[in-house]
Amino acid sequence: MSLIPQFIPKFVLETRVEVSNKWVILSPIIAIILTLFSGIIIFSLMGKDPLLALYTFFIQPVTTLFGVTELLVKATPLVLIGVGLAIGFKANVWNIGAEGQFTMGAIFGGGAALLCNNIESYLVLPFVLLLGILGGAFWGAIPAFFKTRFNANEILTSLMLSYIAVLFLSYLVHGPWRDPGGFNFPESQLFSDYAMLPVLVENSRLNLGSVFAILVVLLGWILIARSIIGFQLRVVGLAPAAAHYAGFKHSGLVWLSFTISGGLAGLAGIAEVSGPIGQLLPSVSPGYGFTAIIVAFLGRLHPVGVLFASLVMALSYIGGENAQIEIGLPAAVTGLFQGVLLFFLLACDVLVRYRIKSSSFISGKRS
């Protein structure tokens, strides 16, 4: 006999036979709307005017040209990393170590920038960027090697390599690459102008990196949707057995996913240190590599979706700062918002893929 009273219906999730394409696209939008409504409730409970709070959070940051450029600056690394991750995730290749590949890109590219600090040539920047991409791709290739050679779980290897990269950077700026004129503080010299990405809008930090991000969205979309490799990636992800039967080489796709996503994370890393930062610091990322995982899923593993998801995510960070300055909301609200957004996104996804059924109507008998 169950102790649960008989009149409480039990609910079960039942897989929908057909998943509506319309709702797959609409669900993130509904999730955002629901998040905004939750925001109104949260702000009201905190004794703030909810409409004013939503305005300062989501609209005021982009009411100036400078605000828009800052949004793009903040979103750029998320786009670059997110598109790369989406490509791998499509094929069920789980690169969780973008944070490390980002950092390695910053190390390789930043090292090149420091090496060329006395060279006044326009070739310095391409060299720096190239090394950044190579650094990230190299760091991504390591888990690919362990996966294909030893079948080691790439989630673990890529994640743990992140910490190695971050500590390696810390070692470099505390030791050999420390600015000799910097009182032993752990920072490299500032990069020369020839190693810096050109700024696009005067008096802002918007730089060439954001143009790369747009290009990467286009190229990523072509790769996934219009190329044979993209087709193979998708088949491997959706139906591994069919892919095997069709003769697609799984190990090749693992290598491809990891070098592409690693290279793009490396590009994001070098674009960050050669852009807004301008030198190597003990830590060059406030967690972009991990946030980009959320962004990739929020964007439905589609490059254009990733672009929008990055903008939403970047806005939530900048809006949080703005809300602290303008109306004194605590910093924790930013995290709360992001959490609520993810919760609603996942909840909507569940409802898109499954339907809720009350089990009491399925069968007359109870267990």
């Binding site: 004013l52 032993n184 930090r205 830590s283 602290q324 300055i325």
Partner: protein
């Protein structure tokens, strides 16, 4: 009715927004604060926020203060600082070392705004720097530890191997060895300013290695709480943490920014503000010691005597002879370490275990 009042609310908010956007001319000066941690860390950031409240209290309606907490060092901080400058803040305090270059970059674009950066070494026309001589407090804590410890081992939870932190470790041991030459320090680097879990774990590991005095250069009370639970002694960091460890806290090194913040804000308002670099200690009251507790009276007297001697200048914590780990004399007898050595300190004194991460 309901719908009507809803529209009215929208209208009112829009008006409010418009008004705040225009920034009505009024006499109050906006003062901004950028914090690296949460105001509830009960350490570093908490004390800066106490300083902010002191400004509000002292200057009342003349000022309006704003703060942004948990700002990541790096590009995010530049945006926050710039946002404060762009929204009419006339004095901006940036309170972590990593905000140095972002502060300078923003300051260049806002020549009329006064910037105050804590613990940095670069100044400009409208960027002043300030910091406390916390090593003076560390030395006193070391003296107490040297008297109290039975295992002769100090456990030190450290954040990042920057000169400021290394200086604290050395000062602590120099103080301890001034009363007990057998004292040694084990250091655990946690590579964070604020992570109570990591800080606490480091303290546990140090106690397991035999340390019976725990001290920390991180921002949370977690190491001291571990000391309390494990029955060893420790020190509060940045603020008086006696509430977290009524039986374990021997004293605490308190950062007191109140009078500096009030004074500098006043100077900015009356136009006498100028760029400067100050490094203030016990004498000026930027560094204070919490009451000496949980120790015998003779140790209290010794600690008080040491504190007085540092305050009146008769004792300098970094007086020679000082040897580095290899036994080489780096400061000769009768001399004190010069400010270059103090500011860029990157060696351990004799008695610190392990090597300095480089």
């Amino acid at each position: 009715m309901r719908i009507k009042s809803f529209y009215r609310e929208i209208l009112l908010s829009l008006i409010a927004i418009a008004l705040s956007g225009v920034g009505f001319a009024n006499a109050e000066t906006k003062v901004g604060f950028v914090y690296v941690g949460p105001i509830g860390d009960h350490g570093w950031t908490y004390r800066h926020d106490v300083g902010r409240l002191a400004v509000e209290k002292a200057l009342g309606a003349k000022v309006k203060t704003t703060f942004v907490e948990s700002v990541k060092e790096g590009p995010d901080s530049e945006r926050v600082i710039r946002q404060l400058a762009a929204t009419g803040h006339k004095v901006i305090f940036t309170t972590s070392f990593g905000f140095m270059n972002p502060t300078l970059k923003v300051a260049k674009k806002f020549p009329d705004v006064k910037f105050e950066h804590a613990t940095g070494y670069k100044q400009s026309k409208n960027v002043a720097t300030f910091s406390g001589r916390f090593y003076e407090g560390r030395y006193i804590a070391g003296v107490i530890a040297g008297k109290i410890s039975k295992t002769n081992k100090i456990g030190y939870v450290a954040s990042f191997p920057i000169p400021e932190v290394v200086r604290g470790i050395n000062a602590f041991l120099l103080g301890a060895r001034s009363v007990n030459p057998d004292m040694s320090i084990n250091v655990v680097w946690v590579n964070t300013w604020y992570d109570p879990g990591k800080e606490g774990d480091a303290a546990k590991a140090l106690i397991d290695q035999g340390a019976d005095i725990i001290t920390q250069h991180t921002d949370s009370p977690a190491p001291l709480q571990v000391a309390e639970n494990r029955g060893v002694k420790g020190f509060g960091q940045a603020s008086d943490m006696i509430k977290f460890a009524p039986k374990a806290q021997l004293s605490a090194i308190i950062d007191d920014w109140d009078s500096y913040y009030v004074e500098r804000t006043k100077a900015a308002i009356d136009g006498s503000w100028n760029s400067q670099d100050v490094w203030l200690g016990l004498k000026e009251g930027m560094v204070k010691m919490a009451p000496y507790t949980n120790m015998p009276n003779d140790v209290v007297a010794l600690a008080q005597k040491t504190e007085d001697a540092i305050r009146d200048g008769s004792l300098h914590p970094f007086s020679g002879p000082i040897k580095d780990q290899s036994g080489k004399i780096v400061v000769e007898a009768g001399k004190v370490a010069d400010s270059g050595m103090l500011l860029g300190m990157n060696f351990y004194v004799e008695g610190v275990q392990g090597s300095l991460p480089k």
